[in-house]
């Protein structure tokens, strides 16, 4: 087809809803379909958030009960006491997200363009870890990173640990119970959530675009920078969100692979709620975490210009 030729008229989109004049009974159908599920979400997702907001401004004790007193000081106190855990959570989750992107992109690219007939096998191998409970797999990292184990020995011989301990990521002779172990666990646990959206958006790219770029004398690096990467942006955005959001609230990796110096805000919320039973502080912390994540997500989605994520 030459470029001067007029493009054929686009076929009518078959997904366009067919408009008919429905009867009243028919008009109610969507509401009946929505009702049970939406009710479930309202009662067990939205309403709890309201309860949590109210709990965060209550004062009282377990014995005498709590009462709404609009005590906003709880927020100030909670932030003053636990800001290191907040900063740590965002820092660890952010680092893990970047690592997931750096590690996941080549693998997603490999599956989409290079795997050929091995594609399904590699995809199964990416999803396969899911089939073993993630807690068991996280515990396996305790063995892998164990003091005096193979990984620590190799890193020691290569003097990597000297550098990382100088940076404060590890100790001079151990990886377990350090920030690096926690970030390593987070990266590991959320990698599939990065790879699958990346793969989906890469797979949609028309291979002929690569050929066209090559025909126009683009080097492979330029092709990647100007064609492949921009077209994979939707995958990058949803992958980073699917990694960062759960990672920021995670406390499993911090508790299993870290130490008291690597506690994240999830651990604090958990212990305030389930052990200390200081509900207002726990609710306030949880509310702040929610606000930070929602603000970050909104800002990020606006910046990257992809609104259509659902």
């Amino acid at each position: 087809m030459s470029l001067t030729e007029a493009p054929p008229a686009p076929p009518a989109d078959p997904r366009e809803p067919v408009l008919r004049k429905p009867s009243t009974r028919k008009r109610l159908v969507p509401y009946w379909l929505l009702l049970p599920g939406i009710l479930w979400l309202v009662v067990f997702f939205a309403l709890p958030l309201v309860y949590q907001a109210s709990t965060s401004v209550q004062t009282g004790s377990l014995e005498q009960g709590f009462e709404v007193t609009w005590h906003f000081q709880t927020y100030v106190d909670a932030l003053r006491e636990y800001y290191p855990q907040f900063i740590r959570s965002l820092l660890y989750a952010g680092t893990a997200t970047i690592l997931c992107l750096l590690l996941g992109y080549p693998l997603a690219y490999l599956i989409a363009f290079k795997a050929g007939r091995w594609r399904n096998l590699v995809l199964v191998l990416v999803i396969a870890p899911f089939f073993t409970s993630f807690l068991i797999r996280t515990l396996a990292w305790k063995t892998i990173l164990a003091d005096g184990g193979a990984v620590v020995d190799v890193l020691n011989t290569l003097h990597v640990l000297d550098v990382t301990s100088w940076l404060g990521w590890t100790e001079s002779n151990r990886v377990l119970a350090t920030p690096m172990a926690v970030v390593c666990g987070l990266t590991y646990n959320f990698l599939p959530f990065m790879i699958l959206p990346l793969y989906t958006s890469l797979e949609r790219i028309d291979g002929r675009l690569h050929e066209a770029a090559g025909d126009l004398y683009a080097t492979p690096a330029t092709t990647f920078r100007k064609v492949t990467f921009p077209l994979s942006m939707p995958g990058v955005v949803s992958g980073t969100l699917l990694t960062f959001i759960p990672a920021s609230g995670d406390y499993v990796n911090a508790e299993l692979l870290g130490s008291t110096d690597t506690k994240m805000v999830g651990s604090v919320i958990q212990s305030q709620f389930l052990r200390v039973l200081d509900y207002p502080t726990a609710a306030a912390l949880s509310f702040i975490l929610m606000a930070i994540v929602l603000l970050a997500v909104t800002f990020y989605i606006r910046r990257s210009g992809t609104e259509d994520l659902v």
Binding site: W40, V124, S133, I136, I245
Partner: protein, 267 residues
Amino acid sequence: MPVLRWIRRNLVVIAGLLTLAYMILPNIVVMVFSFNKPNGRFNYAWQRFSLDAWKDPCGVADLCGSLSLSLQIAFWATLGATALGTMIAFALVRYRFRARGAINSLIFLPMAMPEVVMAASLLTLFLNMGAQLGFWTVLIAHIMFCLSFVVTAVKARVMSMDPRLEEAARDLYAGPVQTFLRVTLPIAAPGIAAGAMLAFALSFDDFIITNFNAGSTVTFPMFVWGSAQRGTPVQINVIGTAMFIIAISVVLVGQVIASRRKNNARP
């Protein structure tokens, strides 16, 4: 240097395979350590080969009870979330109605929220209502967070469906029920199945929300969490490995059947 040139040319493949190794390594460790005979209470260091744990997978108190509880919860949560989610997905794609934006956000938000926030807020609701924490509160929570994922999976499939197929069915005098059962449902089935599988996996493996809302009920992930404090029995690795092998075989058998069918379709 030809070696260097080869590495440069295959850099993406090498990096991708290294990532794959990073993702598979813990599974291999879990598998290998299911044959370990540890000295102390913790199964973190290799001692010697033994089949003891495989011979007696339920040999640890409460382990298999927690496993069966997790399977039950995952089954009912999958059923509930798939039914409710499929209905929502059909309404979203096929009908026009008011407050679409609000409903879309209500479905999107649970996926855009750290799990610990949902867990904590749901617990405040249950505490305020004076609900007894246990099987039912966990089931309610699981249906809640699986719902959005089912909607997303089914919606994608229904959206790519050609409505002209249903019109054709109506033109051929199929009633609404018949059209739905014999045309719509079979076409939407892969999306519904994908949503259901996702829901099952999410529910079975959930820890954070369950930990908040289970009271003294112990699901399998909670058993593993507790054992990380008290001592990890080798049987945990046996269960993990068995789950892995079962799931992989199901996937492989499915692949074989699918490719057989394809080959039969074009003789």
